[in-house]
Point group: C2
Chain length 329, copies 2
DNA sequence: AATAGCTTTGCAAACGTTTGCACAAATGTT
DNA sequence: AACATTTGTGCAAACGTTTGCAAAGCTATT
């Protein structure tokens, strides 16, 4: 079936294209009678305006780009979900690109975004990203750029983050308050700034007490977290509490504890930083500091809108990280 | 910074727009010298072609629409991930819309897709979808339409599905083989064809045996699944095996079993249909029939490409559903 | 020296909108 | 009856590309 355009409608009705255009937008210049006829025909023919033409003419798009290391997972999918909700509510569209943690793909994604003339870009850096020049082009072109989660260190960018420092501190203080003296703390990839921040904040609190034994470990996935946990429970003196920096780590730790039939919280306490989904499926539910991808998405979008509306000062914003009590501590 | 167009480049070089256009595409008509100059300047100025203009001129887009009930979850996020990978590999873009299981939002999403002149649509129906007329418009406009997961019953559509019948049958047979006589089978939303198919296939196998007691239940979320399980374990005679039609249901069931400290598989066996992530985090790992969102995405994309390439016959395709043995049966 | 055939470039139309401006017809004012 | 105003509509340009066709400047052939 041929596509319906303003021209088609104008030919059928014997009116000019401009009259059709105005009638469809209920322009006051057009008579009620004409408006009615135009609307009726447009409905009957299922007219849908061609966004490409509109964008070209207007020199602006209502599409956001979103670059994320991976769509699946507990965190980014919630983030994307939040962004999509807001896009819909504000009549924007969303173009999603996965970087797969590969700097070359990231560059490619940036090109795609620029060719599509996105009106704004949400980006989460890969662990490999060395140079930000491709991102700087967005600033030069006055396209709002909002980094989230994995963000650059420079202050000249908008950054929406988990309050990593505060979150790690909260967890540490909770362990302190519960008088846990022998602690196994498992962190993620050592190269990530997010890991370093969480690590430092955690240590800072813990180190204030003299009689605490702390074992710090790093790992990249669940399996390694599991092995690390196993190793520590093979020792004579076993941990009284385990701190998990992420969901991935929590999975490995729980797998080990369940296999060894170590009961929580009587034999060992567990606390995690988490999006919130996983802690709730365990029994007892795991106590965690919430690092919500959904909230991060909402905040990122708010910042984006303020950029679109002309707010030019860059800022770093944090989402709150409430403590959610389970039965694991 | 002003945007760079072919016109800008042509003015700087004192050539016509058409020459620039051809030079950038390495058209044989253009001299090597001119090509070199044009490419150099375009690179220096960071020229990015305007996709809107290209699409308008060409009357075609390279964007797919993807309508999904929800982005987050175990299943759809993997599906989306697979589609995005293929889009990138084939130089398409992807526009994602969440229907939130709301028929009105679904209709809205369809409009957005048509306005954006998507070159193809992947769609998963909401549980509320009554009418398919809005979808039919894609067929009328010769826009390839590929339904996945939750699909309509009519044969006139392309449908990419889990082999629901086979998967449910496999699970049932496995229970049979293991001599489970008292079975609790929990299914999802009763309105969905996917539920009905799984239900029927499951019953068909189970009903071949005379001495089997089966309790069929339906539910919409984890919490209800949990309550249902609890109810059945309050009875005098408790189930010997539980069949979970989906991950959501598995979560509720496991929560209940763990709270009641019912041990698996000695007191009760568990088998699920699942994407595969969840079953692996439990101890023992849950035996499941794999229903992979990722695989579904890959197959859906393949079908879409064949549609784009002119294949007009509609078909229903299935992904394989291997059995993955855990320790729960 | 005239013609034919390349090589290289430019012109102009088209894709589907929106919008400033002009204009015609109808109405109102003296 | 002449003029001013209002009301409704159309013309044409512009957004940034692509592409069929024409044409200008060559070289080669006769």
């Amino acid at each position: 079936m041929e596509t319906i355009t303003l021209k088609k409608i104008s030919e059928v009705l014997g009116l000019s294209i401009s009259t059709i255009s105005r009638a469809l937008k209920n322009h006051p210049d057009i008579s009620e009678n004409t408006k009615r006829r135009v609307h009726e025909l447009a409905d009957a023919l299922d007219y849908e305006p061609n966004i490409n033409a509109i964008n070209l003419r207007a020199k602006k798009n209502r599409v956001f780009g979103l670059i994320v290391p991976s769509i699946s997972g507990f965190f980014y999918d919630s983030f994307i979900s939040a962004i999509e909700e807001e896009c819909r509510a504000n009549a924007y569209s969303l173009m999603i690109l996965q970087s797969s943690n590969d700097a070359a793909i990231e560059i490619n994604s940036l090109h795609i975004c620029r060719q599509n003339r996105v009106c704004g870009l949400f980006a989460c850096l890969t662990t490999e990203t060395k140079s930000l020049v491709a991102f700087d082009k967005f600033n030069e072109a006055d396209i709002p750029l909002v980094f989230f989660d994995k963000v650059p260190e420079e202050t000249k960018y908008n950054k929406i983050c988990i309050a990593d420092e505060k979150a790690a501190k909260q967890a540490a203080e909770l362990l302190q308050k519960n008088n846990k003296k022998h602690i196994l703390a498992i962190f993620g990839n050592e190269n990530l700034s997010i890991t370093r921040t969480r690590f430092k904040a955690f240590q800072k609190v813990i180190s204030t007490e003299k009689d605490v034994t702390i074992y710090n470990e790093y790992c990249n996935d669940s399996d390694i977290a599991k092995k690390i946990t196993k190793k520590h429970f093979a020792k004579k003196e076993t941990p009284a509490a385990i701190f998990c920096m992420s969901d991935d780590i929590l999975i490995g730790v729980m797998k080990c504890l369940n296999e060894l039939k170590i009961s929580i919280p009587s034999e060992v306490a567990v606390i995690a930083l988490s999006d919130g989904f996983l802690p709730k499926i365990y029994t007892p539910e795991i106590t965690y500091i919430e690092t919500s991808g959904y909230k991060l998405g909402k905040l990122s979008f708010t910042k984006m809108l303020s950029c679109i509306n002309g707010n030019t000062d860059t800022e770093e914003l944090f989402i709150t990280t409430p403590l959610v009590k389970g039965g694991s501590l």
